[in-house]
């Protein structure tokens, strides 16, 4: 808890004959994070290993399978199959079925490609013929002359040509199509006149018969090709249904084979031996060691190496109770924790839903979001969506809880007085009571900010004491106490000067100290502020410019109330408008206009609350997580940890041999 999984550094060495079984066993366990061999100094005389036998064949088969998958449009959705295929059965099927499937896919795809090419060709021809449909001259009459020059193209308006010629024009004032036949001797002259008139020539297609007839012919062919292509698509669709599970399973099996066969590329080897280094969770070291010895009859050397934190980047794996797993998503979006620092996932998993609940705080919206989370879980089953929806579920449960406390349902008041603070606004003059306790709520949110930021600084203190050395460690730790003293000193000075509800009142204690003009606690506060600034400056004088962020970061927590109140306001405005439309003119005397107004009111109600639900997720979610990222994490969190990525595969479609 609050720390990543403890890792051990393992060294595995053996003769080359043992390499295959060792790799297979490591792959099966899926616990060994391989540290790539990159020619480290201590490995003088070693070189990179070569892939195991069978790597090439497996790769070729895999390539064929992937080609067929692309042809049929099969892609893994990351959801485990209902029935897993055993590896032995799959291997048998691979030999008998794969060539046939490949041939089928090849044949269909190449037919489709041929048809597509022909289709493009036809489209081009039809486009070329299109202008000539305006003039009823057979296409063969446009060419094959020894003494005539032919021009065909578009003109902005009919052109008068001063030279002997025959013409055909079709069009109106906006322009049209012009074909001109003129003796070769006048060719240049006509061409110049046409150019002056803005003539743009088109290519004369090599066709016979009228353009309309030719287009009719090509259109018929296009239709038949489209039908044929639809047939091929249907066939591919059918084949996808039949082969999807087999191909996905085969893909998985061969991917596993190729990955294992290529593992030696990451090991250090000599002519006779190999050495693999990597990381294993400390709790699993003994089980890995004993199973490696079992598969090799004890002819392997497994040793736990000491960890040198200066040089080794230890991979980080989360270690959290199950309810905190969804919050790991937020951590990975920001940055994986460093192996040695405090992992705040547990805190985020508790505080994020609380913040979300404080912002949304409505039974109705909470229930809608909870339903979305549960229904979504049924349809969106990939790992990312699962984490997201679980976060949404936790957040919406918290919203319902705070909704009960605030006494809100879709912006209406629940039939009891708000248990904690009222957020009901006086919109439309209908509400009772004295409006929202905005000031009290703001002060509570500031308290949350003060405490949460202090917690962040304390965590930073612990991190520095764990991770740093020497005088730097002392200075960094002092600076953290300095930040805490600065913030609380400021608070004490304020408390000693102004009485603030919901905060500590120090204005009544003691009399003003002469010469300084502050009460005794004010003096204490000033001393704390000075100590804080000195301690911060000792570590890094430039940090002093960051001092005002103490105020802005604490006040930033006011968004918990501000965003929440604005969401309540939207809900109440929607209710006010919609109910106003429905009840007053509508229900009083049922006229056709009244019924229209009732329907419009219902539409406004639904649209408004849908919009506000979406805004609640966006506002509540983004602001809650932002308070963590910007205001909380910047106090202590380093991140930049390496993701623990063990050698092996999470099997979805095949079972172990």
């Amino acid at each position: 808890m609050l720390a990543p999984e403890q890792m051990s550094r393992l060294l595995i060495a053996g003769t080359k004959e043992q390499m295959g079984p060792v790799i297979g066993e490591l792959y099966r366990h899926r616990l060994f994070h391989i540290e790539d061999f990159v020619g480290q100094e201590e490995y003088a005389g070693f070189r990179l290993g070569m892939p195991l036998d069978g790597a090439t064949e497996a790769s070729v088969d895999l390539l064929n399978i992937r080609a067929a998958e692309t042809a049929f449009g099969i892609a893994s959705d990351g959801v485990p199959a209902a029935r897993r295929i055993s590896a032995a059965e799959l291997r048998r099927q691979l030999e008998t079925e794969l060539p046939a499937i490949d041939a089928q896919a090849d044949e269909l795809v190449s037919r489709r490609t041929r048809l597509e090419t022909r289709l493009r060709d036809l489209e081009a021809r039809i486009a070329e013929l299109e202008p000539f449909t305006a003039v009823p001259i057979p296409m063969e009459h446009y060419r094959g002359y020894n003494t005539l020059a032919v021009f065909a193209g578009h003109v902005p308006a009919d052109v008068a040509i001063e030279a002997p010629h025959e013409r055909a024009f079709s069009g109106d004032k906006k322009g049209g199509f012009l074909a001109v036949f003129t003796p070769l001797s006048h060719r240049d002259e006509v061409e110049r006149q046409l150019q002056d008139a803005g003539f743009s020539p088109v290519q004369i297609p090599d066709e016979t018969g009228t353009a309309v007839d030719a287009i009719g012919r090509y259109s018929a062919e296009r239709t038949s090709i489209t039908t044929e292509m639809e047939g091929i698509e249907r066939q591919l669709e059918g084949l996808r249904e039949i082969h999807a599970s087999f191909l996905l399973a085969a893909d998985e099996l061969l991917t596993a084979e190729v990955e294992q066969a290529e593992a030696p590329l990451r090991f250090a080897v000599t002519d006779q031996a190999f050495v693999a280094e990597g990381w294993v969770p400390t709790v699993d070291v003994s089980s890995i060691a004993s199973s490696l010895e079992r598969v090799t009859d004890g002819r392997v050397h497994v040793e736990e190496l000491p960890i040198d934190f200066e040089h080794d980047a230890v991979p980080t794996e989360f270690q959290n109770p199950s309810f905190a797993h969804p919050a790991e998503m937020f951590m990975d979006v920001y940055s994986r924790p460093n192996y040695r620092e405090i992992d705040p996932t547990l805190l985020v998993s508790i505080v994020f839903p609380v913040f979300f609940g404080l912002i949304v705080g409505d039974v109705g919206y909470g229930a809608v979001l909870l339903a979305i989370a549960f229904i979504g879980r049924r349809y969106l089953r990939t790992e990312g969506w699962k984490l997201f929806l679980d976060n949404l579920r936790n957040a919406s449960i918290s919203s319902i809880f705070f909704g009960l406390l605030f006494g809100e349902i879709f912006g209406f008041a629940l039939p009891w007085r708000p248990v904690i603070f009222s957020r009901h606004l006086n919109i439309g003059g209908e509400a009772h009571g004295h409006g929202p306790d905005a000031a009290s709520l703001l002060i509570v949110s500031v308290w949350i900010g003060i405490l949460y930021i202090t917690l962040g600084r304390i965590i930073s203190l612990i991190n520095h004491s764990r991770m740093d050395h020497g005088s730097h460690r002392t200075k960094a730790m002092l600076a953290q106490t300095g930040w805490i003293a600065f913030m609380w000193g400021l608070l004490i000075v304020i408390w000693s000067m102004f009485p603030i509800p919901w905060m500590i009142d120090l204005t009544t204690i003691g009399n003003t100290v002469p010469l300084i003009g502050l009460r005794p606690f004010g003096v204490v506060g000033v001393v704390m502020i000075i100590y804080g600034l000195v301690a911060i400056a000792l570590e890094n004088p430039f940090e002093i410019v960051e001092a005002p962020t103490v105020i802005s970061h604490v006040l930033s927590f006011a968004r918990l109330v501000a965003v929440g109140l604005s969401s309540v306001a939207i809900a109440m405005v929607v209710n006010f408008i919609a109910l106003g439309m429905m009840i007053e003119p509508g229900l009083e005397n049922l006229t056709p206009v009244g019924i229209v107004l009732i329907v419009a009111g219902i539409v406004v109600l639904l649209l408004g609350h849908t919009l506000n639900t979406a805004l609640a997720v966006l506002g509540g979610g983004l602001h809650s997580i932002r308070l963590h990222y910007v205001e909380f994490f910047t106090k202590f969190y380093k991140g930049g940890g390496r993701k623990y990525n063990p050698f092996g595969m999470k099997r979805l479609y095949t079972s172990e041999e």
Partner: protein, 86 residues
């Protein structure tokens, strides 16, 4: 013409105009900070969309970056609430 010099301000009128000015102040607080936030988010948003287009994984992070200037309008909202409700 209305004779302005002889107009008498009653207590109710003064209270009403004070309430009105409070509301104007609250509106200005939210509106102006909203514009400020918008200007700040403009360039962040453009860069964030660009980054997301290049690498889909950056979506979460760029969304967070985009809402950072939201603090400005939140402060405006807080000031407005203090004006209106306290």
């Amino acid at each position: 013409m209305v004779d302005v010099t002889n107009a008498v301000m009653t207590v109710e009128m003064i209270q009403a105009s004070q309430a009105g000015l409070k509301a104007v102040g609250a509106g200005l607080a939210v509106g102006l900070t909203g514009i400020g936030t918008g200007i700040a988010e403009m360039s962040i948003g453009a860069a964030a969309v660009g980054a997301t287009a290049e690498n889909r994984d950056l979506f979460g992070l760029s969304l967070i970056f985009t809402v950072i200037p939201e603090t400005i309008v939140i402060f405006g909202l807080v000031v407005a609430m203090l004006l209106l409700f306290s």
